[in-house]
Symmetry: C2
Subunit: 407 residues, 2 copies
């Protein structure tokens, strides 16, 4: 039996918590081989980013990766030390030592392959293997550059290792009890889900549910890794992310409400309405490795149109820098930006086969007097862009309208 | 022109200081190729050690190395980022990326070789190369283990790189103005020396002068690297460590007073007085990689003797653990330990050819009512073990007796 566990930053925020995680791992290690992936302690990553930004407004990706990777290198060594204290054989590995080879693209590097040789050797030697999450290297050499997998990358590390090692279980431990019908901090009636499909989880995560990183869920779906998300220190069963099954048919077609405040809207004003213009703008953003969402192109007037889209707040400066030359080149009239926006979404695979959800969603928001700025949809999701300060009311209204408090 | 500089922890303790170091480096980089070695920020290393010890009284060497190496990895990335902000091309390298290959022995690993390939490539590409001090790896592979060179290891990194790259200058920047005739915090009349020989510096460093690490000086001597020690932010010329020259003949034969409070005395009581006993004890300590100093064996009585020696405070627990089985095996009566001790030394290559220094030293201490617990000497040094709380008085008395306030 081989188990991959991951503990998030809040679960290893202090030496006391690391010691408590060690106790849990030691207990489990009595019956299973263990690979344990850890995030950096508490707010370490944010503190390191803040130091880098004090030194340079736009720190170089390569150097930032090298800087941030220290957080997980440190926490993984500390957990190994805590396991030794309990008499458990353990060894910590950096992403590179664990054989996680990534592409060069810094900041959000994708995993190219995992060379499991050393991992397997350390497991065979009877070690609990503690792996620094969130990081990899560019090639199998000591001079290879250190890369990071982007925010939430430790989840990706855990699922990728579970897939590569064909682990029997993949368990993501965090500071929440599982996946909820809505953020319990905004909606006290939110309910924990026992299971959720990969697709639903992807939509929830993509629209702001912070419990699990999208890339990790995608990877789980791709390799058929069932992922348990649970509270590191609770005794509740958590939520299992897996393939959709028949049971899901009889459930509430809407599974949850996601919201995302980490949104900035950019509007390119007065774009000449010619074919290929949008492609040029989004090509520049893709080149800069920026995720774009809620794209809306207005009806054209006098041969010109407005094109708006959203990016994560953290990508705002980078996005601006990436498209400014394109705007000039296109002869557009300018760029408007708005940080007072947020996304609220309803998600559920049951929506695929039944109509009427959009109507119900818009009516519920309208009844609360909440104005919809733009709308995007997928097969199993409807997302509205609204004003940021109305998010809490919107989440509660939707949770009630779709009767999510009921099992 | 190729310059290797090293900035200590106090010189990079905050982002403001890192920015100031970047200014200095940028200025120098206008006229020279630069390799800049950095220590961890401020007290980072101590804080990491403290966390490890909260988790386990005797943290594993391999994991501790991996933990501590993060400090320099972070500061080197931050300095590179600060250099970019000034428009200077720069790249940071870990010890491993810089090709510093060490033996496996963790905690105080010795450098086996330096593979300068990547360093030279980065220099040729016009980069200031910022190297994480204090660390290396065990082999040229991504899964190689991370090692550290022991306290003061960043000095060693700088001198080793200067030797390997045949640099034109090696400059160690710290928070003091250079090498003094005594610690100015204890003796306000202490004078900065313009030059000091490798041998004298070795004796000073070995006996507690914290300004420069012994191994770095040895390496400098071995490869003929002249080392400048100077204040990172001062405008004073510093002290040059180099081969002894003729001028030194006419100087005060005593060059300085060193003191060391970081001393614990261990006494193995009632050791059977047979040949080979001392060897057994010190073999165990050598195996555990512990430096031993001020060894004294008492006159034997009734076939038994007492054997005492000193170790650094940090090595105390390890030393105890290493020799306890030997003590049992030898049938010795027990182990006494004393942390209320310190060493005070006079150092000077002029002492080699002239007698009378021991007499003068002991008399000066006696006149102050300071009891000498044990004595050791080298050709150019005399060290007395005294009670720790008498160190300041001892340093001042000796500084005066040997007229070190005079040029």
């Amino acid at each position: 039996m081989l188990v991959v566990q991951k503990y998030g930053g809040s679960s290893v925020a202090t030496t006391e918590k690391i010691a408590a995680v060690a106790e849990r791992v030691a207990e489990r290690a009595k019956e299973a081989q263990m690979v344990v992936v850890v995030s950096a302690m508490g707010d370490t990553t944010d503190e390191l980013i803040s130091m880098a930004k004090q030194l340079c407004a736009m720190p170089d990706d390569r150097e930032l990766d090298k800087l941030l990777a220290t957080g997980e290198q440190a926490s993984s060594a500390l957990l190994a030390i805590a396991l030794h204290n309990l008499g458990v054989k353990a060894v910590s590995l950096t992403g590179g030592q664990a054989g996680i080879i990534t592409e060069k693209s810094a900041g959000k590097a994708r995993i190219l392959k995992i060379d499991c040789k050393r991992l397997k050797e350390e497991l065979a030697a009877g070690n609990v293997v503690v792996v620094a999450g969130f990081q990899g290297i560019t090639e199998n050499a000591s001079w290879a550059d250190i890369t990071t997998l982007g925010r939430g990358g430790s989840d990706t590390t855990a699922v990728a290792l579970a897939a590569a090692l064909k682990a029997d279980a993949c368990e993501i431990y965090t500071d929440v009890d599982g996946v909820f019908t809505a953020d319990p901090r905004l909606e006290p009636n939110a309910r924990k889900l026992d299971t959720i499909s990969y697709e639903e989880m992807l939509e929830m995560a993509g629209q702001g549910a912070r419990v699990m990183h999208s890339r990790a869920v995608e990877l789980g779906q791709l390799y058929g890794v069932e992922i348990l998300v649970a509270n590191a220190f609770g005794n509740v069963p958590g939520t299992i992310i897996k393939e959709e099954d028949e049971d899901m048919e009889v459930r509430n077609p809407v599974r949850g409400i996601a919201h995302d405040m980490d949104v900035t809207r950019l509007t390119v004003v007065g774009v000449p309405d010619r074919p290929g213009i949008a492609a040029q703008i989004f090509h520049a953003l893709a080149e800069a490795n920026i995720n774009v969402d809620v794209i809306v192109q207005n009806v054209s007037s006098e041969g010109r149109t407005d094109l708006s889209f959203t990016v994560a707040d953290a990508d705002f400066e980078k996005a601006k820098k990436a498209i400014e030359p394109v705007i000039e080149q296109l002869g557009a009239k300018g760029l408007l930006t708005d940080q007072n926006v947020a996304k609220v979404s309803i998600v559920g695979s049951g929506m695929r086969s039944s109509p009427g959800y959009a109507d119900k969603m818009f009516s519920a928001l309208a009844a609360e007097g909440i104005n919809i700025l733009s709308i995007t949809t997928s097969e199993i999701r409807i997302t509205c862009l609204i004003e940021r300060d109305k998010v809490k009311r919107a989440v509660r209204a939707l949770h009630k309208a779709f009767e999510l408090e009921k099992v």
